[in-house]
Amino acid sequence: MLEAHNLECVRGERRLFAGLGFRLEAGELLYLQGRNGAGKTSLLRMLIGLLPPEDGEIRWQGESIKSLADEYRGNLCYLGHHNAIKEELTPLENLMAAARLAEEEISEDDALDALEQVGLAGREDLACKYLSQGQKRRVALARLVKEKRLLWVLDEPFVALDVAAVAWLAGLIGAHLQRGGLCVMTTHQPVDIPAGAVKELRLS
Amino acid sequence: MLEAHNLECVRGERRLFAGLGFRLEAGELLYLQGRNGAGKTSLLRMLIGLLPPEDGEIRWQGESIKSLADEYRGNLCYLGHHNAIKEELTPLENLMAAARLAEEEISEDDALDALEQVGLAGREDLACKYLSQGQKRRVALARLVKEKRLLWVLDEPFVALDVAAVAWLAGLIGAHLQRGGLCVMTTHQPVDIPAGAVKELRLS
């Protein structure tokens, strides 16, 4: 489904990696590893099409993601270092707005349910700026609960989460893979994801 | 050395904790635990004097930190969720500026040495905005390398660090404790700190 061929990444004057390639099928998890600054975030940004690679190509179902454009992005769900939530809005509003902007209507009940699952029950109506670091991250993660898109790209999703939340999220990713989804992920924490096929890719 | 008596914390309309107290002596580590939103960050901000407690008192060597003011702060080193680095400045400049503003002259050699220890050799002269998430955190941590103040207050210092850096930082904190320093810390990651006396405090 998702293939990368001969990717090269240059930031500033530094060549982070070159000749990188992989192939990911339905139900597989690609686990990116590497020390700080190895280029994991850069690679993820290439995969979602925001950073044009210096060289090489990325294909989705055989076609270059550059030519697929919108069509590819319709299959994509990205979670970055930043939470992409508005501090002034409440978790509920954030979730609804994010869905609407991604052109996916969800009902308020669904949203409330998602928030409850991420452990924010009782804080649905508190502006996000009052939430703790981990609670903010949970708001961002709530998007994943109802997410049906095929390809999830997650950049250190476990950061700031407490132990219970880490386990919950691992389960969520596992379920996504079981449904035949794909996932590309980085994390520095050792996490156990209940998934069949885990591919590892180490940048160095 | 550091005592808290009967602390109460109210945020918005929510009482996060009340009647909280502890006592920390030289060479001891206080390890704060609790789920996301339990009030760990709030407690730390009370300890450094930025958030006035609703009730109760914090004492340093027997005196209230409120009356000690500058004197207490001269013994304090805080590292928060944010890195407190300037994106335009290079790691070296950031480190030097931070030291100067804390009224602690350090030589350029010392600073370069600290940066090398945190694994930023070769990036001393790259503006911080180009660094990866983990590298930014390392710049913030470089301040600790030469830090001689007694009380370290660290809010999730391990976030975004790779495995090697986590181990290094744990060692650094251990060495600080061995020298007779105090440390109050939160983290969600299980980390092994080579220290004698670890006190745990669980907020819930």
Binding site: G12, E13, D55 | A127
Partner: protein, 249 residues
């Protein structure tokens, strides 16, 4: 890497760099020749203007500088369009290299115009359409330079600068006409440029030669600057390394 650029052979930096090196002396020499001839005609031979006395001789630099300032902006926009459309690296660098020269030309136009205005109109500055739009053009140049220098990544700087140039070039005529219209609506004929009537042929020739001199100068200077930019940007490529290694004088 190289195979990708064979289409744009001369746009390939490795070919362009030595080529530009050879062209610079030619344009510089032409600029000097035209300049000397123009100055000779303009300062020594041309007769006094019967209305403006000797003050009119400022025209020999004022007009070429004004022309160049406007023309260079167009050329920059042209390069920007090429760069955005075909993703050639050299085009962006050309625009970057031209900008300071264009800004200097705009400044010279303002400076000489002001020095001309004081004896002719009795004021260093009036808010006439042409003057005002030249001032705005200077702002546009400075905006471009400031934007590019605020971005550290050169490729990003090229693209962002390109978008700005294209937006600007659409606006320049709009600005010019709006200012002109504003000005003529407000007031009749209080101040307008005293056209030197029936310009003597020597004057015309002097001005043409000076204009050519400014042209050649601008080309030469832009090529010089683009060569330096090339070196900086391509310092990691083989050809720059070879060149630097070879140039151990």
């Amino acid at each position: 890497m190289n195979a990708r650029f064979h289409l744009y052979h001369y746009a390939s930096p490795a070919t362009f760099y030595p080529l530009a090196g050879k062209l610079i002396p030619v344009f510089a020499a032409l600029a000097v020749v035209f300049g000397l001839a123009g100055l000779y005609l303009g300062l020594l031979v041309a007769p006094t203007d019967f209305q403006q006395g000797e003050g009119y001789r400022i025209i020999f630099i004022h007009v070429p500088a004004s022309w160049m300032s406007m023309f260079i902006y167009l050329v920059m926009a042209f390069w920007a369009a090429i760069g955005l459309a075909f993703n050639t690296r050299l085009s962006g660098m050309m625009a970057t290299a031209l900008a300071p020269t264009g800004a200097l030309m705009a400044f010279l136009s303002l400076w000489t115009g002001a020095l001309w205005g004081k004896p002719m109109w009795g004021a260093w500055w009036v808010w006439d359409a042409r003057l005002t739009s030249e001032l705005i053009l200077l702002f546009l140049y400075i905006g471009f330079i400031a934007l590019q220098s605020a971005i550290d990544d050169p490729r990003r700087a090229d693209k962002a600068g390109g978008v700005l140039l294209l937006v600007g070039v659409v606006n320049v005529p709009v600005i010019y006409f709006s200012v002109k219209w504003w000005n003529t609506l407000h007031q009749g004929a209080s101040v307008s440029l005293t056209q030197s009537p029936s310009m003597a042929t020597t004057m015309l020739w002097g001005m043409l030669l000076m204009a050519l001199c400014f042209w050649m100068y601008s080309i030469a200077v832009a090529l010089m600057r683009v060569r330096t930019i090339l070196l900086e940007r391509e310092r990691h490529t083989e050809w720059v390394k070879e060149m630097l290694a070879g140039e151990t004088k």
